[in-house]
C-alpha cells in the first residue's frame, strides 16, 4: 500500500526550483504536491507526481540528484480528530515519523497526507487497522 515520492536535491541558488519544475513539466508529468525543506545552503524537494518514474528519469538525465522514496499517502475523512486518531495509534509504537506534508484536497472535502515513517510496512498495517484509506501509486496517478 505504499506510494512513490520523488526526492530531489537542490542547492540554494536562484532559479534552481524553477529548473526542476520545468524538467518535470517537459516530461509531461503532473505535480500533485510539493514540499521544500531547506537550510541556508541547500534543500530537499519532495514531490508527489502522477508518474514518479518518468519524472525521476527526466531529472537524472538533466543532471539532478533525484531518487524515488517509499511513502504512505493517507486519505483522511472530513471529520474532526481523524488525523489525530491515526497518529496517536502510530505514536504508541516504536515507529518514528520522519516527516509529513499535505497532498491535494479533493472535491468531496477529503484531504490526503504524505507520511514518511521509519517502518512503512508496520505503519501501513496500523493505519489500515485503524480504518485509514491508503492511496497507491495507481490511485495517485488518477488524482
Amino acid at each position: 500500500m505504499q506510494a512513490k515520492q520523488l526526492s530531489v536535491f537542490i542547492e540554494n541558488r536562484e532559479g534552481r526550483l524553477d529548473e526542476v519544475l520545468a524538467v518535470i513539466k517537459a516530461a509531461n508529468v503532473n505535480i500533485l504536491s510539493l514540499s521544500l525543506a531547506d537550510t541556508s545552503e541547500y534543500g530537499l524537494l519532495r514531490l508527489i507526481v502522477s508518474d514518479p518514474a518518468a519524472a525521476d528519469a527526466a531529472l537524472k538525465a538533466s543532471g539532478f540528484s533525484s531518487m524515488l522514496t517509499d511513502v504512505l499517502v493517507v486519505r483522511l475523512m472530513n471529520k474532526v480528530g481523524s488525523l489525530q486518531a491515526f497518529l496517536s495509534d502510530l505514536a504508541k509504537t516504536e515507529i518514528n515519523l520522519e516527516y509529513m506534508y499535505g497532498l491535494t484536497i479533493e472535491k468531496e472535502g477529503k484531504a490526503s497526507l504524505v507520511i514518511k515513517a521509519s517502518d512503512l510496512a508496520k505503519a501501513s498495517e496500523i493505519l489500515l487497522k485503524a480504518g485509514a484509506e491508503l492511496l497507491t501509486a495507481e490511485d495517485i496517478a488518477k488524482l
Binding site: S7, F9, R16
Partner: protein, 435 residues
C-alpha cells in the same frame, strides 16, 4: 623497455656528462647572452669558476621575471634565424613567457619525451590520442613528437568536442590517452553520458597525464573510471625548460625519473636560496645543460619536491623527483595557514557520495579569510542527515589535514565548471574585494 642507455649509467658517468655539458653551457651563455653575462658579473662568478658540479651553486638563479624582463628573445643564446620554432606560455598577468628551439633542440626534446612515454608504458603499437590543446602551449606538440618518434600512431585530436573525442577513441581503438587529469575525468563523464562503457567499449590502457598536478587520490579516481588496469603516470616539464619531457614516472610509480643528461636538478630553500642536503624537500631548481636556443641556468620552478638517487626497480639509475604536492605559487595562505589545493583534493576524493570536480573559493569577511569548498553531490538522498554527514565528514577531515574550518557547499551534479586544459579550481576573491 628503456629507451636510452643514458638512463642506466653509473652515477659517476652521469656526473661526468653533466659537468662537461654544464661547463660548455655556462661558457656559451656568458659569451652570447648579455643578460647572463651581467648576472654572472654581478655575482662575481666567471665560467672558469665552475670546476665541479657543486660549483653550480655559485651561479645566480633565473626566474620567470627574468624571462619577462627580456621578452621576447632577450635570453636566447642563438640568433633568431637559427630558431625553427617558438612557443609561449599563457601568462596570467602581463606578457607571456616565450621559448624557442633550434632544430637540434627539437631533436633533444623529442628524445626526452620518447623516454618519458616509454617509461609510462608506451610502445610502437599504441594508438595515441593527444587531448592537449595544440597551439602555443608546449604540451601537445611535445607529446606528439615524442610518441611519433617511438612509432606510435598519433591521433592529434586536441581539446574540445568531447563527444567526437570519445567516438575516435572507440572507432580507432585508442590505447593511449594524453590529457590533463581533469580533462581525462571529463572525457570519462562524456563517455558515460553517451552510453559508452569505458571498460568494455574502449581500449585505453595507458594514460600519460601532465600539465596539472596528479595527486594519488586523483590517480585512484582515474582508475575508477578508466579501469584498474589502465597505467596512469604523470610526467613533468615546463615550457621554460623545454616543455614536457623533463621527468616522468615509470611503471613502479615511485617518483619521476629526470633526464639527467639534459637537466641538472637541485633542491633549494625557497626563502634563503640555499641548496639543501640530499633528500630534503624544497623548491626544485633546474639547469638546462643541452639546449642551444634557451639554456636557462638554475631556473626556479616554484615546484616543491624531493630528489631520490637510489636505483629504481625499473633498472633506470636516473634521479627521481617525488610527485609534487603543488606549486609554491598555487599555495594559498588562509588565516595564516599554508594550504595546497592538492591537500583539499585528497580529502574530497576520499569522501563517499560526492564527485571528483570541485571549486575552492576564498573570500574575506571583515579581517578573516573564509574558505568555501563547492563539491557535487552524486548520491541522491531523501535524508537531511545524510547531507549533513557528508558535509561534516569533509569538514572534519579538512580540519585534521589543514587545521582550518571550511564551509562545504554541496551542489548538483554537472554544475561545477569542467576544463579541457589545466583546471582552474581556485577562486581567490580576497584581493578583488579590495580589503
Amino acid at each position: 623497455m628503456i629507451w636510452s642507455k643514458n638512463e642506466t649509467l653509473e652515477r659517476s658517468e652521469i656526473e661526468k656528462i653533466q659537468l662537461e655539458r654544464l661547463q660548455e653551457t655556462v661558457h656559451r651563455v656568458y659569451e652570447k647572452v648579455p643578460a647572463y653575462r651581467k648576472k654572472m658579473d654581478d655575482a662575481g662568478v666567471k665560467p672558469e669558476d665552475i670546476k665541479t658540479l657543486a660549483d653550480l651553486a655559485k651561479l645566480p638563479f633565473t626566474t620567470k621575471e627574468d624571462l619577462r624582463d627580456n621578452y621576447p628573445f632577450g635570453l636566447f643564446a642563438v640568433p633568431k634565424k637559427d630558431l625553427v620554432r617558438v612557443h609561449a606560455s599563457s601568462g596570467t598577468t602581463g606578457k607571456p613567457t616565450v621559448v624557442g628551439y633550434t632544430r637540434k633542440d627539437l631533436e633533444t626534446w623529442t628524445e626526452c619525451v620518447t623516454r618519458i612515454a616509454v617509461m609510462g608504458g608506451a610502445t610502437p603499437e599504441d594508438m595515441a590520442q593527444i587531448c592537449f590543446g595544440y597551439g602555443m602551449f608546449t604540451g601537445a606538440l611535445g607529446l606528439h613528437y615524442g610518441l611519433e618518434n617511438l612509432g606510435a600512431t598519433i591521433v592529434p585530436s586536441s581539446t574540445g568536442n568531447s563527444e567526437k573525442q570519445i567516438m575516435f577513441m572507440k572507432d580507432f581503438e585508442t590505447t593511449l590517452l594524453v590529457a590533463t587529469p581533469s580533462y581525462a575525468l571529463r572525457l570519462a563523464e562524456v563517455a558515460n553520458e553517451m552510453g559508452v562503457d569505458i571498460k568494455k567499449d574502449l581500449k585505453v590502457r595507458i594514460a600519460l597525464v601532465g600539465s596539472e598536478l596528479l595527486t594519488e587520490a586523483m590517480r585512484e579516481e582515474m582508475h575508477k573510471v578508466w579501469g584498474e588496469n589502465c597505467l596512469v603516470t604523470s610526467n613533468y616539464g615546463m615550457s621554460e625548460l623545454m616543455g614536457p619531457g623533463v621527468s616522468g614516472e615509470c611503471e613502479y610509480l615511485n617518483g619521476m625519473h629526470i633526464n639527467e643528461d639534459f637537466f641538472i636538478p637541485e633542491i633549494i630553500d625557497s626563502k634563503t636560496g640555499e641548496v639543501l642536503p640530499a633528500g630534503s624537500k624544497g623548491e626544485l631548481v633546474v639547469t638546462c645543460i643541452y639546449k642551444e636556443a634557451l639554456p636557462l641556468i638554475r631556473y626556479r620552478t616554484k615546484d616543491v619536491t624531493r630528489l631520490m638517487y637510489e636505483k629504481c626497480k625499473c633498472g633506470r639509475t636516473t634521479c627521481r623527483m617525488e610527485n609534487l604536492d603543488g606549486r609554491t605559487d598555487d599555495m594559498l595562505k588562509i588565516r595564516g595557514v599554508n594550504v595546497f589545493p592538492g591537500q583539499i583534493e585528497e580529502v574530497l576524493l576520499h569522501t563517499d557520495g560526492i564527485g571528483p570536480h570541485y571549486e575552492i573559493v576564498v573570500t574575506r569577511e571583515g579581517h578573516s579569510d573564509k574558505l568555501e569548498i563547492r563539491v557535487e553531490l552524486l548520491k541522491a538522498t531523501d535524508d537531511y542527515k545524510e547531507l549533513k554527514s557528508i558535509e561534516s565528514a569533509i569538514k572534519a577531515k579538512l580540519r585534521v589535514v589543514l587545521g582550518l574550518d571550511a564551509k562545504i557547499s554541496l551542489v548538483s551534479p554537472n554544475t561545477i565548471q569542467r576544463f579541457e586544459g589545466k583546471a582552474k579550481r581556485i577562486r581567490d576573491l580576497r584581493n578583488k574585494e579590495g580589503v
